[in-house]
Subunit: 402 residues, 2 copies
Amino acid sequence: MELAFIKPLIKQSDSKIVLLVMDGLGGLPLNSSGLTELETAKTPHLDQLAKEGICGLQLPVGSGITPGSGPGHLALFGYNPKKYTVGRGILSANGIGFPLKPGDVTARGNFCTIDENGVISDRRAGRIPSEKNKELCDLLRNNISLPGVEVFIETEKEYRFVLVLRGEGLSAEIHDTDPQEVGKKPLQASAFAEQANRTADIVNEFLSQVQSILHNHHPANMVLLRGFSTKPDWPTMKESFGVHAAAIAAYPMYRGLAGLLGMDIIQTGETIQEEFDTLKQQWDTYDFFYVHIKKTDSSGEDGNFDKKVEIIEQVDQMIPLLRDLNPDVILVTGDHSTPALHKAHSWHPVPVLLWSKQCRPDAVKEFGERACITGVLGPRFPAEDLLPLALANAERLEKFGA
Amino acid sequence: MELAFIKPLIKQSDSKIVLLVMDGLGGLPLNSSGLTELETAKTPHLDQLAKEGICGLQLPVGSGITPGSGPGHLALFGYNPKKYTVGRGILSANGIGFPLKPGDVTARGNFCTIDENGVISDRRAGRIPSEKNKELCDLLRNNISLPGVEVFIETEKEYRFVLVLRGEGLSAEIHDTDPQEVGKKPLQASAFAEQANRTADIVNEFLSQVQSILHNHHPANMVLLRGFSTKPDWPTMKESFGVHAAAIAAYPMYRGLAGLLGMDIIQTGETIQEEFDTLKQQWDTYDFFYVHIKKTDSSGEDGNFDKKVEIIEQVDQMIPLLRDLNPDVILVTGDHSTPALHKAHSWHPVPVLLWSKQCRPDAVKEFGERACITGVLGPRFPAEDLLPLALANAERLEKFGA
């Protein structure tokens, strides 16, 4: 649904909406049970929501399209993910709360390991701890000097950092230097538009200095850059949908994404329990809550089916706490599928349930991929339309037309 | 899905995709069993694919729209059939391998029968055999002369031929001369754009000469022309989707269609068995195979329910051969419905199954119109999105966005 269509229909209300995102929720059968992670998990509270509410499978971008976390989330926030595209650099910079200025060019960096021939042997430098990352960022920050450009190098988490270049006439139209494969050399930065040639040269000078400085710091002896980008100027959730929105997410990237839409980023802990405690504390202050659970995705990425089942069950245990807050609408889904079988994001549609006192319940009695096929949202609901539907259920949309 | 959206996501792979099109597959109940042709047919191998894969009903163009063979196929090839439109003349010329030049105007011709008043009594001239057609084409070719225009008249099959006009400043913006009904006279050619007036005059001169020449050749004593068109300049399947594609189709028109998208047209026989033998022979050379079965459609057009059932059963018997080739993705569907009840193409959604090792199977256990309603592809899947979905299942698409 276009934002311009929804905007005139927005009305104010005291109602509260909770969007609970289990990252990478959708799965695939992996063992002889023939059941997915969600189908395997014991989820009595989610099943009860499914019984009382409406269900379906949603497509974040489209059939066959494997969404990155950015597009997957933007769709859930009601923004067309093909139109509102954002680079990973911006997501990461926003995620760590870096005060970006207009024109700043950002990239997401990985510390990586290269061998004596300059070939990448580990794209994540053995997943060095965040403490080591901080040391290395200090080292780079104190030793790198680029003519006419201010350089910021900030730790994100583990092997990830954020690069920000500030200066006149910079451009983000630069290809990734990360070849996305081990066994290859890091790529030179190259411009895909002429006006980025100078910036590409600066990035290459940066990489050359990095390689000298990190030379003796195996396993983190080189860096890979991707998602060169500048900050987009998007309408906020308040402007688009009239909601005062809070983001409760333990991971920087998701906070960054929420920040791009003007959501308030709430400090929270690392555990699921802490995230729900934060929700409870903030309950009276906001009317839209985005709660992000990371570990469904990371256990999927690790190929750990049982762990993903366990995380889903932990989230299920939080539902009574959530219901006690007396929300008007609860939306539970994922930003994409991450089947443990795949160890990666996938294109499979994502289970979704919408609960409110206004639902016309369908026949779905449990929250699972196959059960959801028969729900009233259908097996291929466009994720982008979930937010308008939640607004309607929260009595936050006027009638269209006379 | 727009081609421009998919293109940057294409990645190379050794995986192989088979698109098996049973022309006019969808049907309607005709007898007391209440079952369609596909539901009546015994299809153990297709049912097994349905069980292991995902199912649905697809719409080639949209709800209520009866697709011609061109739009029906273009949608299956991943091209928006409303945007990529092609005249029947081009399809036929391409189908017989006629070496078209830019600016050539083509039309598909039927030999037909007119009575002493010039009224059409048979639009297909008693379905004269191809041999008779060749004689008549020779006769016309040797006797027709149009000022300033080169005329090519080539046999297609049975009562069908191809007309190609070559010359300066010709235009294809001309209405059909085929009134599509018996009991009417053939229409005069008329332009629907001013720049086609001269071409319309030339076509009318052509028709006048034809009528004199064929005067004594009852039942083929006149011709009807339709689908005036020039060759479109479309991106190939290789350009759009990165696949090296082969077309295995016994009928010229479908070869023509495939040729417009740069598929290699493989010589094959007339029978279903021969087509699958060709598939096997070509297996190592290509990574996308379009296999076209004509007789599901022609038996439907003839109102022959039992024959259509029989053809479907013959195709089912080929599935083990297909599976032995170890394809990565099998897509089975039709380009539209041709219910024997209708004796014509219809708007009813078309059963589709997609099989791969990457599917999250739904609950569909057999391949039939009603069984497919409950599949995860849903009851109104846009046919145009099938190809991207097949690419995803063949691991030929990158993730979209960070």
